[in-house]
């Protein structure tokens, strides 16, 4: 598990590229699965549709990224095998994506934090030296920008809303903020990818993400929590207790009937 963290200074190996692609793919896949849990349960039909549509875009992005990751890996695994036949330690999503939905306000806070990150990350990845990744990023960026319009809009409405809604989203923000350090702090693999122009330096993403969030939180009259210490390592396969439960549900059918199709 630590091999990815001990990158060599030389060229990017297939294994390293594979792992970096999984970070992006798994974040979209896991977040999409979380949003899917809202179907039939959202506070209004419009929000039900919205969360399901965002999930659909995220699954599409995950599929493109997983298919490409499978090619890079070169062991014949396709996107379905990668999505449904890996266990939690082999998932490399950021830890924030797997956090439970909580109430609608918590889901919106999680979404806004991740939308802002994906918008900035994919925007920079359009300039990646990895052509296929750049092409996927160009598509994903447009979709994530639209997701941000939705999540940021709700963040402002709830934050600058009633006493109750404001208290709830502030509590959600305070609770989830500790996971944001992982999005913005590079580890050895992030730095290695950046040194080859495959990914942007995370310091750049951090400054853009912070500016985007600061403006949204101000409009939402929400208090920005203090900087978060960085004890989470989902992108290295070390997850919170929630991912295993999520995968149990998501992978149930393929685990029970491997290779089953519609």
């Amino acid at each position: 598990m630590s091999s990815a963290a001990e990158c060599t200074a030389g060229a990017v190996s297939a294994e390293e590229r594979f792992r970096y692609l999984l970070r992006l793919a798994d974040t979209s896949l896991v977040l999409g699965q979380r949003l899917g849990e809202w179907v039939g349960h959202a506070p209004a039909l419009e929000e039900d549709l919205a969360l399901a549509n965002i999930a659909l875009d995220l699954f599409g992005q995950a599929r493109l990224l997983l298919a490409y990751a499978g090619q890079v890996e070169g062991r014949g695994r396709d996107e379905d095998q990668l999505a449904f036949r890996r266990d939690a330690p082999e998932f490399f999503n950021v830890t924030l994506a797997e956090q439970p939905n909580g109430d609608f306000g918590q889901t919106i806070v999680r979404q806004a934090l991740l939308d802002a990150w994906q918008v900035e990350l994919y925007h920079s990845l359009i300039g990646s030296t990895d052509e296929q990744l750049a092409n996927i990023a160009a598509k994903a960026m447009k979709e994530c920008r639209y997701h941000w319009r939705f999540s940021c809009g709700w963040l402002v409405r709830l934050g600058d809303g009633t006493e109750e809604s404001r208290a709830r989203v502030q509590a959600a923000l305070d609770g989830l903020w500790r996971f944001t350090g992982e999005l913005l702090t590079p580890d050895a693999l992030d730095a290695h990818m950046a040194s080859h122009g495959i990914a942007p330096p995370l310091a750049l993403i951090r400054s853009r993400w912070e500016a985007r969030l600061a403006a949204a939180l101000e409009e939402a009259t929400l208090r920005q929590p203090p900087p978060a210490y960085f004890p989470w390592h989902g992108k290295r396969g070390v997850h919170s207790e929630h991912l295993g439960h999520l995968l149990t549900e998501m992978q149930h059918l393929q685990r029970l009937h491997p290779g089953a199709t519609w």
């Binding site: 419009e46 929000e47 919205a50 875009d57 995220l58 599929r63 939705f150």
Partner: protein
């Protein structure tokens, strides 16, 4: 969207393929062909003797993508064209601006509004009033948002501007 044929002899074949593609309707919006939607990126006769058709998805996760690929194969088979390769083109990413003017008019006649530049100019497809309100950024398919007319009170879908 101009077809780049490899030789003059290929032109009639390429034209036939385009004509066949014009009969393939979007499964979610059956008045609109995939050519009008702007998702056919190229038709080329390549050195391998096969016709290559480039298709791009509107949204990464659009569930209609696979059905569209199947419909394209069937339409071309119906024209006796079996030696076809379907290619997925991701770059440049599809934009709602790629929809043809004819496509926009068909959509509006069908009851789906289209956001026109400058962004935000949306008219009710029923009574043409500009007094509309957005109910949700999202709608019944990944490519649509949901609006309501403040004048005639009719709710309607709007093609998202992306």
């Amino acid at each position: 969207m101009v077809a780049a044929a490899t030789s003059p002899a290929a032109e009639p074949l390429v034209r036939r393929v385009w004509q066949a593609l014009e009969t393939v309707m979007d499964p979610e919006i059956p008045v609109l062909s995939i050519v009008e939607l702007g998702i056919v990126r190229h038709v080329r006769l390549r050195e391998d003797g096969l016709v290559h058709v480039g298709l791009t998805p509107t949204y990464s996760g659009c569930p209609a993508t696979e059905l569209i690929h199947r419909s394209v194969r069937e339409a071309l088979l119906g024209q006796g064209l079996a030696a076809v390769v379907l290619e997925t083109v991701l770059w440049p990413a599809w934009s709602s601006e790629w929809m043809s003017e004819q496509g926009r008019q068909k959509l509006e006649a069908y009851g789906i509004a289209v956001e026109r530049a400058p962004a935000g100019r949306i008219a009710c497809p029923r009574c043409a009033s500009r007094a509309v309100e957005r109910l949700s950024e999202f709608g019944s398919t990944p490519c649509k948002a949901h609006y309501r007319c403040s004048a005639c009170l009719e709710p309607f879908d709007t093609f998202k501007c992306i």
